[in-house]
Subunit: 137 residues, 4 copies
């Protein structure tokens, strides 16, 4: 199990009229944390190979439990745990805390390794050994 | 169990560079379908009482399984089922299909009846009988 | 000059902690109105030709003056006027009113006809006669 | 004239199916840069006074000219210039460049000092001397 931690600030445009971060933005924050984790491994959520083939990790499921609201200008710490790397898919767990160390939310995303067949078909593939090695490094 | 159906079109700004609707927008679409369901019952997701008390249904959990991508200009049919009304919370199930009747995604949201104590504390409350009656009508 | 009118409701997720529609969403609403206008002309903001060439109308400028706020559940009427079709570009004006006929905002977008050269170069082109004819119909 | 510089990375969820940052997100990036500028001055775009009065700087106009696209994982440098502080309003200019020093866009926002009268009326006010002093520091 690999754990990675990053932070992201709640912007004004992330809030809603309830005065808190709109719940959908927790999913955006999960994705940016995932992307940053992948970047530290030399990977991404979407890229082109030298041959022009588009590869990436679209999601097949996403979930989040909300315990306390995130507020404007809060700096959220997002802890990313890569819980499982399967044949084609991988599962992340995300824990959100604020600058007062209060637990705000716990999320999960399962992503599948896919290539895009132009113009827009998407096909899942076994995760290649080199990518797997980077994920588990 | 109450079921309600609405539609919403995938806009250009809802898509991402994978050429499909960004997964976070399924959660926005669930919320707009929930809001529309509540509106047909004379309710909302956030409102003020005559006394200036702010009430609403913030979410405590949200989840979605993605089967097929939604694409730009697809008209999604969103079927909303109110599966359970508890003492303080209620649980919805959302089924997304496109204009070719392909199943795209299944989502769930659990929302809790809350009032906002200014400036920004949020407290859960038992769902009042009149609101419960409208929900179950 | 061609004028087209559509409506769109302000969703909860479109609001911010000021209790009004976040200003950036006026730009999203302009784009969805533009897309709907183009659709009535048999056009789109982004599409593939039969040969797999990606064409579209990316924006080169966008502006909006805000007079009154749009609020949750307001149904906005968006009037789209195609003010000018130049050699490569076209300019729209958008007027927003709410359900009480209050003027909320006036926006402008200039879009340029472009093709995408894979993987991701964008080149502007003269608007072809058939597309121009549809725009001016 | 005060200039302030910050950076922000283009996230996957900021892109659209054209493979570039959706134009509406330039406005979100302007706002987060403005907020960060204000924070360095001990200010914000929205806050409560000790008496519970809600103050802030809603926008009355926003505009952007787009020269080159911003792409996924680009790190944008956003230079914020406070061009003018009027009696009630202030005007910003934003310049976007990417990590290769290419100019991408130039934006402008005019914001007005306002208080919110509960539940949701908004009234413009003269910018108080202490806030003006912080802005011009």
């Amino acid at each position: 199990m690999t754990t990675f931690t990053t932070t992201r600030r709640v912007e004004f445009g992330d809030t809603d009229m309830a005065g808190i971060m709109h719940f959908s933005n927790f999913f955006r924050f999960m994705e940016s944390a995932e992307t940053e984790f992948l970047r530290t491994r030399g990977l991404s959520v979407s890229w082109y190979t030298a041959d022009g083939v588009k590869l990436g990790f679209p999601r097949v499921s996403a979930a989040c439990d909300f315990q306390k609201p995130a507020r404007f200008e809060d700096v959220l710490t997002i802890s990313v745990t890569l819980e499982k790397v399967g044949e084609k898919s991988m599962s992340y767990r995300f824990e959100f805390t604020n600058q007062r160390d209060e637990a705000l939310a716990v999320g999960r995303i399962t992503a599948v390794f896919c290539r895009t067949i132009p113009p827009n078909q998407i096909e899942s593939l076994a995760i290649p050994a080199d990518i797997r090695a980077k994920l588990e490094s």
